[in-house]
Amino acid sequence: MAGKRVAVVGVGQTVHRTARKDVSMAGLVREAAQEALDDAGMAWSDIDAVVIGKAPDMFEGVAMPELYLADALGAVGKPMMRVHTAGSVGGSTSIVAAKLVAAGLHERVLTVAYEKQSESNATWGLSVPMPFAAPLVAGAGGYFAPLIRAYMYRSGAPRHIGHLVAVKDRRAALRNPKAHLHIPDIDLKMVEESFLLWDPLRYLDVCPSSDGAMAMVLGSEQVADASSGPVAWVHGMAMRSEPTMFARRDQVNPQAGKDCAKDVYAQAGITDPRRDFDCAEVYVPFSWYEPMWLENLGFCAEGDGWKLTESGATGPDGDIPWNMSGGVLSSNPIGASGMVRFGEAAQQVRGRSGDYQVELKTGRALGQAYGGGSQFFSMWVVGNQKPA
């Protein structure tokens, strides 16, 4: 990884719910940030800079909300930035914040991502018709379902694969008190009997709409070495983007995702992701995206992702657990969801994941987020050992 060493020294996360009516937007982000500061053993005055991220402003109706949130995030008198890279933004925001440390500019950076979806309606917010652009009138599900069908056609995956992921991630969420969805009796039958939204996606194959925030304190090597608790070292971080639509673009297995994974693996010395990682937190907002991203991220050969899912390898007791926290399928504050992936990966290598902690063998985990029309990717590799 380019630049100086960076580590996650504190993580905070709100409880995710359909509507957090007990807090304002400022209260929501502050709740996560305060927990991250407490975890890092720091005060607001210790922070050098703040980087905030969220998905489109239309999800809440506040334009450039870093302005309104500067006070709540203790940023007054400090540098503050706002990142927006669609659904990948939580990951991108983490990376922009980490680069401030990697560049040697700051010692302690607070980064926060949030969405308070109850303020508006995300499907409406995504569906504003624009001149000269393909309309997204059915929201994200309507956009991604045809790509899932193309995946099924290519790979020959049977129809129940998505439902397996829907059950697995909801069962995982039962161990995570902060997850939005807790469905104790979830099973395959319940998913199969939930109503059809966008073929092949049934209601329970789809992420919820959540209010929530995630925060991390990123520190320099000096700060991390002085930390009393465990830290997660950043071993690699990368972003890639490609245009939404053009002839020959593979939207099912996008090149930008493959390039991003290749870059971040090279930085971290990952040669066989299934073996080299203890676990991964990956942006799976629709159940079928687990097998699709297994292939895109190189955890198996192209066409074999569904077989890996079907084998149980990605379950909590499998050899490569994915989304132990319950994932995006169990909590989806959109703009925060990417940072939740990055932060949950960090918590795993810190040994701080409570009832959903995986056994640490390699001590390394992957965080991944994607956005737009499967065109924006951000990834990082974190580990419990200082990078070479």
Binding site: A2, G3, S24, A55, P56, D57, M58, F59, E60, G61, V62, A63, M64, P65, E66, L67, Y68, L69, A70, D71, A75, V76, G77, P79, M80, M81, R82, V83, H84, T85, A86, S92, I95, V96, K99, A102, A103, G104, L105, G125, L126, V128, M130, P131, F132, A133, M239, R240, S241, E242, P243, T244, F246, P254, Q255, A256, D259, G372, Q375, F376
Partner: protein, 351 residues
């Protein structure tokens, strides 16, 4: 720190571009900046942009930019929902890590399709302030009143700023409001938002801007006189208009001090003053002396102010004057938020 310089700059402003979508509006500017840079498009290491969804009226304004970039094969890319001056900051940070040696930075936005003054009210505290829908001009006028009361400046002083802007803009093909006007001409205009007149308020502008920055030897190779970034810093203040002294810009002062504005002469300054009184506040915060520093020689934002690229334009305008030898050292400033809440200061210098 790695030495990083601005090596090319292009921009375009019109009052109303109804015949192009955002992608079409950006393409010529991006292509010009890349061609000028002397760096092949596919060798530029990083891309970063600034735009605002609420200007386009849709949720992903920046995605249109990727089509203009021609992001294939996939590129290292990021976006800030801020003026593109902050996109340049992010790109500068990426170069500082050593990950890349060059970056393309751009910003764009059309202010003309909607009611910009009201749209910017969406930046305000959504629970307590937005419901009153104060427009950005209403708030600026409050600030101007407070400033005149505190400073002893008069409407004539504001008119001098506005008139000089229009005179300077006569040389600038990208300026919309220009002419050989005097302060007395400005004072003949009616006051629309006490104490401001039309000439004290930026004109609605559609436009885009692009800059290429490069590190060390690469910058020296492609540019005869790179405009080196000697310091780039930004600071935010409290949001509420009642929690800060509107007659001063403490965040500009702090950013300017950290960026090293006072460490040498300032031949030229481009200030993102969207209202004439803001230029006086900013010049004071940066310690600029108008008899020694040419302030807003392009005409500044009072001549053209394409929201989301106007801050980047300030950096480009200073860099251009350094590269062409008109100046040796200059200061560029960008702002964001109501009444100068968030400010970035960039010090540029030639060798």
């Amino acid at each position: 720190m790695r030495d990083v310089a601005v090596v090319s700059f292009a921009y375009s402003n019109v009052a109303r571009d109804a015949s192009h979508n955002e992608t079409e509006m950006i393409v010529p500017v991006l292509h010009e900046a890349v061609a000028q840079s002397g760096i092949a498009h596919d060798e530029i290491g990083f891309v970063c942009s600034g735009s605002l969804d609420y200007l386009q009226g849709g949720p992903f304004a920046f995605v249109a930019g990727l089509d203009a970039v021609g992001a294939w094969p996939p590129v290292r890319e990021s976006h800030v929902e801020m003026d593109a001056a902050w996109a340049l900051y992010e790109a500068w940070v990426a170069i500082q890590t050593g990950e890349v040696d060059s970056a393309l930075v751009y910003g764009f936005g059309k202010s003309s399709p909607g009611d910009l003054h009201e749209i910017m009210a969406l930046q305000l505290d959504p629970y307590y302030v937005l419901p009153q829908w104060p427009s950005m001009v209403d708030m600026a006028a409050l600030q101007a009143c407070a400033f005149l009361d505190a400073d002893g400046a008069t409407e004539k002083d504001l008119a001098e700023v506005a008139a000089r802007s229009q005179r300077n803009a006569q040389e600038n093909p990208n300026a919309l409001r220009k002419g050989n006007v005097s302060a007395d001409d400005v004072l003949k205009q009616p006051v629309t938002h006490h104490p401001l007149r039309d000439a004290d308020i930026f004109p609605i502008t559609d436009g885009s801007a692009a800059v290429v920055i490069a590190a060390g030897d690469l910058a020296r190779k492609v540019s005869k006189r790179p405009a080196w970034i000697r310091g780039i810093e930004h600071r935010i203040e409290g949001h509420g208009l009642g929690v800060r002294d509107l007659t001063q810009s403490e965040s500009t002062r702090a950013a300017g001090a950290a960026a090293g504005v006072a460490n040498g002469k300032v031949d030229v300054a481009e200030l993102h003053a969207q209202f004439s009184h803001e230029e006086l506040i900013l010049a004071e915060a940066l310690g600029l002396d108008a008899t020694k520093t040419s302030i807003n020689p392009s005409g500044g934002p009072l001549a053209a102010n394409a929201v989301m690229s106007a801050g980047l334009v300030r950096i480009g305008e200073v860099a251009r004057r350094i590269t062409n030898g008109a100046a040796d050292r200059g200061v560029a400033h960008a702002t964001s938020g109501p009444c100068l809440q968030h400010n970035l200061v960039c010090v540029l210098e030639g060798e």
